[in-house]
């Protein structure tokens, strides 16, 4: 299925939380490459993300059993939203879907996807420490790559680099 077909199917099953589909510009030829996705994506309401993932996973024509990636992005300092980026993959049907959710920076909370895809667990931990997004109901919300006592969320665009760490100067 190409992106348009996936979107039609999502609308047909009335996927929870589906806001809109984005096809930002004229897709170039390489967009036909099945290994590629993301130029066209669906925007999903972050609060209903779990239901959306569940619908994608359990619908037999979508069959998105594999959560490939879950990450976030901070588009700009003055942007008021984070993006949460999810890549889904169907092993049987051989198609991909990119999902984007907008999270307000002042209240970056969304439910965890761990219950639907266990693989999301570590990705969410990474997201949480790098961007300060809280995944509600996460079973193990510790830092994963950063030390436990790290201050700040390094991947934010407004992050200020520390000048020292435990007395070690890093200027």
């Amino acid at each position: 299925m190409d992106f348009q077909a996936i979107h039609d199917r999502l609308v047909a099953i009335d996927a929870p939380g589906l806001v809109r589909a984005e096809l930002p510009r004229e897709p170039n030829k390489k967009e036909k490459d099945p290994g590629r996705s993301g130029e066209s994506y669906v925007v999903v309401d972050s609060a209903r993300m779990v239901d959306f993932l569940l619908a994608c996973r359990d619908d037999e024509r979508l069959d998105m059993k594999l959560l490939v990636d879950l990450s976030a992005a901070d588009p700009a300092v003055d942007d008021e939203n984070f993006w949460v980026l999810i890549q889904l993959l169907s092993i049987e049907k051989k198609h991909r879907l990119s999902i984007k959710a907008f999270l307000p920076k002042d209240n970056a909370r969304m439910p965890t996807a761990t219950a639907v895809h266990r693989g999301a667990q570590w990705h969410e931990r990474e997201c949480a420490e790098m961007y300060g997004i809280t995944f509600e109901g996460h079973p193990d919300p510790r830092n994963i790559l950063l030390p436990d006592d790290w201050v700040g969320h390094p991947m934010r665009k407004d992050y200020e680099f520390p000048t020292e760490y435990h007395g070690i100067s890093c200027e």
Partner: protein
């Protein structure tokens, strides 16, 4: 699809039960008939790098495992947002340093996807394929050798390194580097192959096919090795999908999926249409489907398939340009895109977003080792200490990639 196997959710070691108050000199106070907490790593031969697994053991029996990452975190994604598009290329070499060609390829493909009107010359595509597949062989040779080390067999390691040295020498001839190549770049490859290089690759393929049989007999069919790896660390297909495993980890569980065939990029569609290569799958030959032996077998069998792909490319390659029309300072039009390619360890995904400038807005790397490692928490409880080493080895992680 195999029969779904019931598995338990992971086990966490609670904070109260942490071993010792730090700084206090203790005299084996925690040695009792109760559980013993052991740090496997950060410096431990079985963790293949600086990774730490906190084990809770009851005698030799592991009752809980908790991987701790981040010892090799080098902020690759943050750097990606701060350097120019082409300058980031050398950083891609460093996350999975055993298959740097594939990393270059993944990043290049992701950026090229955003650049409208950029055509990759066919010769460049085929050279990229040859390099990526040779690199896959080299990477799997390491997986083969180090897994032998984990199980306690030294000699296969040296045999594997003998052939890997040859591949590295080939890469050295083509780009001057032996580990971090930065050879495949945005728009094609850095330079054309030196004279005679393709013939030498062909010669390597001939020799390797003989040697591969030797590897197979030495370790894959070794009775002790089979006893140590069969029925250990069983990942059912259901569990593999739930954890988002990819690559040999997924195929070891019997799921027939390979990005090179099913979602082809570059010339792979053509190659797989020509029927040039197969996808080896775990079949539960020696034990349960999805055990360590199956994963190991998939890797070893994949080396031969890579050689077949290389041979196909050698037949198809023709003279021509190797670098597309790329400006010195690349400006990528605004947009975003995700590209997943089949790295030796699974799906290596690059999500790049551009706002139209000289640097990326977001440069996300989805390392397969990172995702594959997450199963440890579930696999290790209930196994013996030696089995846990076998399980870590069978995930074939590169810590540079888990930590990035």
């Amino acid at each position: 699809m195999v029969e779904a196997q019931k598995y338990k959710p992971s086990m966490q070691l609670s904070d109260e039960s942490r071993v010792l108050p730090s700084g206090e000199r203790e005299f084996m106070l925690d040695v009792s008939t109760a559980d013993l907490e052991v740090n496997m790593g950060p410096q431990h031969p079985a963790t293949h790098g600086v990774m730490r697994v906190l084990l809770r053991t009851d005698g030799e029996l592991v009752t809980g495992a908790q991987p701790h990452l981040g010892y090799l975190h080098r902020c690759a994604e943050k750097i990606g947002e701060n350097v120019e598009w082409l300058q980031y290329l050398p950083y891609t070499d460093r996350y999975d340093y055993l298959s740097a060609m594939n990393n270059n390829l993944g990043y290049s493909l992701a950026v090229e996807g955003l650049m409208t009107g950029l055509e990759i010359p066919r010769r460049a595509t085929l050279i990229r394929t040859i390099c990526a597949e040779l690199n896959r062989v080299a990477s799997h040779l390491i997986a083969y050798g180090t897994y032998g080390l984990d199980i306690g067999a030294f000699t296969p390691f040296f045999y594997a390194f003998r052939e890997r040295e040859w591949i590295q020498a080939l890469f050295e001839k083509i780009c001057g580097a032996r580990l971090t190549y930065s050879y495949i770049r945005i728009g094609g490859v850095f330079n054309d192959t030196p004279p005679g290089w393709l013939q030498e690759v062909g010669h390597f393929c001939d020799v390797f096919e003989d040697k591969w049989r030797e590897y197979y007999d030495l370790l894959v069919e070794n009775h002790i090795f089979v006893k140590r790896t069969a029925d250990i660390g069983v990942i059912s297909a259901e569990m593999a999908l739930d954890f988002g495993l990819t690559g040999p980890m997924l195929r070891g569980s019997g799921v027939d999926f390979d990005l090179r065939r099913d979602m082809p990029y570059m010339a792979y569609g053509e190659i797989s249409d020509a029927g040039a290569f197969d996808i080896p799958l775990g079949r539960g030959e020696k034990g349960t489907l999805g055990d360590c032996w199956d994963r190991f077998y998939v890797r070893v069998a994949e080396m031969m398939e890579s050689i077949k792909i290389v041979r196909w490319c050698l037949d198809a390659i023709e003279p021509g340009p190797v670098l597309g029309d790329v400006p010195k300072v690349i400006k990528v039009p605004a947009g975003e895109g995700y590209v997943g390619i089949e790295n030796p360890r699974g799906e290596l995904g690059h999500y790049v977003a551009s706002s139209g400038g000289k640097v990326a807005l977001r440069c996300r790397v989805r390392g397969p080792s990172f995702t594959n490692l997450a199963v440890l928490e579930d696999l290790m409880p209930g196994t013996l200490l030696a089995d846990s080493v076998a399980i870590i080895g069978s995930t074939d992680i590169v810590v540079g990639e888990t930590d990035r």
